[in-house]
Assembly symmetry: C2
Homo-oligomer: 93 residues x 2
């Protein structure tokens, strides 16, 4: 099964599946600022576009461009600003 997920009134959409290494989603964010809660740890990889992220415990926003990634632990939250439409891969493994 490929799951369809929508968040923030459809301004973030993703498709969920299982890779060789575990559960993943690939998705797209419209331009804007979002706060995501995590129930498991996540590895977020920017596919195209740019995310500016405020990670848990940090006070400075950092830019993540295509091909770069950041990790977030379980049971926390993080903020991202999407610059233009940004596609991403989120690995839960």
């Amino acid at each position: 099964m490929i799951s369809n997920n929508e968040y923030f009134d459809g301004t973030v959409k993703s498709l969920g599946y299982t890779s060789a290494t575990g559960k993943s989603t690939i998705g797209v964010m419209e331009p804007g600022e979002y706060e995501f809660g995590t129930s498991s740890k996540e590895n977020m990889i920017v596919v195209e576009g740019e995310l500016i992220a405020l990670l848990p415990g940090e006070t400075e926003w950092k830019s993540f461009k295509a091909g770069t990634s950041f990790k977030v632990g379980a049971n926390t939250s993080f903020k991202v600003k999407s610059v233009g439409q940004t596609s991403y891969l989120c690995q839960y493994a």
Copy 2:
């Protein structure tokens, strides 16, 4: 707008958007074999999983694993076999 696309009875799903370099889709394929027609040229990048592709004019299937890519011209068709669930980025620029 992030577009929702489904092909082959929902065994291939993708999300369409526009990056800095042009139109793209990111998608997921269920295990299976598919034939896709192209209306414009495409650069297909395997994100996770593996696609085995029979490209236009070729007689041998070739394996493309995560991080590898192949190009297909406009107005042709190509076949792919998805090994497990495979996620991909398709750039139309």
